[in-house]
Symmetry: C2
Subunit: 317 residues, 2 copies
């Protein structure tokens, strides 16, 4: 491993069943979070999903003086500000590149790379599962149910893909991007969503005749003068030839618009263990390079008006 | 300005002619670098271009305990390793997002966002001027000379665009990316280049019949097992519909391939004052957020074989 990194503990509910695979190594398998917290590990990686108990464990890890890397979009969307404040106070880091966009480094792009601009809009495909389902329907003309079966067979969908299709997953990710890009505290549950679960082959025919296809789009545009955020997640007609129409399978893509930089496009693997692992490892490497780095907690405001806009894109993208 | 940033000095050969524009402000205009070095400024921004005296000034600024932000690809490509080592020893930072890709945050993407993967290949459009010229020839069928005149009129080309067309500019940027992605010390002058200055409308006809168009491509692929870097900059036929064929005007685009993450695409404004300003300001913000951040100097090796490959892409991109 680079930088002398060492994996010391694996905390897993079913550690006793799984540990044989790595039994020969010096890794401690445990079913006790307290054993991890009491260890001398510098970094805790959290990939369990769901708000609790994950948020509690992250809080405990930071309180124990450890930095934390998480892939958990729900925790970051709902508890991120408080946890980042705790991390800063502890002189530790909470990093979450894996929580949005898989391997495509959009958290760094929005939070750091474009910090010198005033970001005005983010339009993105943020859910790899739904994108795999919709692009499969487009390519084969099959029903949504058949496309879900196919995505599941390829490891791109969970047994129950509703949080993906309904937009709940993308809304959490969009909430994180709104905090990074606009400094807004957006409750993921307040983001208007329309489910992709009811999209039919006939909808695709209709979109095709209109010169496009259908993707689940996450849209956020902030009018600073009017303090108004136009935000939604919905299946949307996107123009043929656009970056979004060309995004197939479990890929993610985003167009970030800045007042000065114009449009920055970023795309890449949005789902899958490898993509998540790359993002997590990149965050671990960042911590290893500079253990005392300051990751300032964002100063978020709740003083804005949230609106939707009939779930259509103002212009062809 | 965010984070209480304040512009204190402007060092310019013709300060006396230019200073009236900002005479009312509290900015000190000077023709003396020593006045800047002796000031209490925390960060020095260098945008003069050329290796010397820029490298000397950066060295002096770091030695004086200041962090440095530069847009100067030649300095970073040719003196970057030594200057980054000096910065690290001084406990200061040398940041250079603006040196490659304009506003598109490729330095962070390669150096940090994908640090958890093993990057195997970078294929990119890295010179906005040449891209504006070639995409203009494609769109209008005009000669290269006419396209250069047009690019100049739009502010996308200097009086003498040879370093752009010949690939010298892109080679310096590619050298920087090879250091970040592969840990290789690549002399920009050793990168094989073929000029775009001799591309004709007939070449575009030929490319069109072959199902593509022409762009100046910067290509670097590292075979770690064989320690062999295949690297070049040249006008190249790219497939119609590819990200590169759709990159028009002064845009830049890159496909970064990782052993685990697959292909990450990033695209955006590659030339122009606004794009450069966004990248520079983002670096200044990073320094302001964490003045003691450690930006480790890359450990580079010269033990590799450099080869070219007839300037063609191994696969349609």
């Amino acid at each position: 491993m680079p930088l002398g990194l060492e994996l010391t503990h694996i905390f897993d509910r079913r550690a006793h069943e799984k540990s044989e695979a790595l039994a020969a190594s010096r890794i401690t398998w445990t079913t006790s979070i307290d054993e991890v917290l009491a260890s001398d590990a510098d970094v805790v990686v959290e990939t369990v999903g769901g708000v609790e108990p994950a948020a509690d464990w992250i809080r405990a890890a930071l309180a124990a003086g450890k930095s934390v890397v998480t892939a958990n979009k729900q925790v970051v969307a709902r508890r991120g500000a408080a946890l980042l404040t705790l991390a800063e106070r502890q002189g530790r880091q909470l990093r979450f590149e894996a929580a949005v966009g898989g391997a495509m480094p959009i958290v760094r792009a929005v939070g750091e790379g474009l910090a010198g601009d005033r970001i005005t809009r983010i339009v993105a495909i943020l859910n790899g599962t739904t994108n795999a389902v919709l692009s499969r329907m487009e390519a084969t003309g099959c029903s949504l149910d058949d496309a879900v079966v196919d995505a599941r067979a390829r490891g791109w969908a969970e047994a129950d893909p509703r949080v993906d299709l309904d937009g709940v997953d993308a809304a959490a990710k969009l909430s994180i991007l709104c905090a990074l890009a606009f400094g807004l505290r957006v409750d993921p549950d307040a983001i208007p969503t329309r489910t992709a679960a009811s999209v039919t082959p006939a909808d695709f025919d209709h979109a095709r005749r209109a010169g496009g296809t259908i993707r689940q789009i996450a849209h956020a545009e902030y009018d600073r003068t009017a303090s108004t955020l136009t935000v939604w997640v919905a299946p949307t007609v996107v123009a043929r030839g656009s970056i979004f129409s060309r995004t197939a399978g479990p890929q993610n893509a985003a167009i970030i618009s800045g007042a000065h930089c114009g449009e920055i496009t970023i795309a890449g693997a949005g789902a899958g263990g490898d993509a998540t692992a790359v993002a997590i490892l990149s965050d671990i490497v960042a911590i290893a390079r500079d253990r005392a780095a300051i990751v300032p907690a964002p100063v978020l405001t709740s003083h804005f008006r949230l609106q939707t806009s009939d779930f259509v894109l103002a212009e062809a993208v």
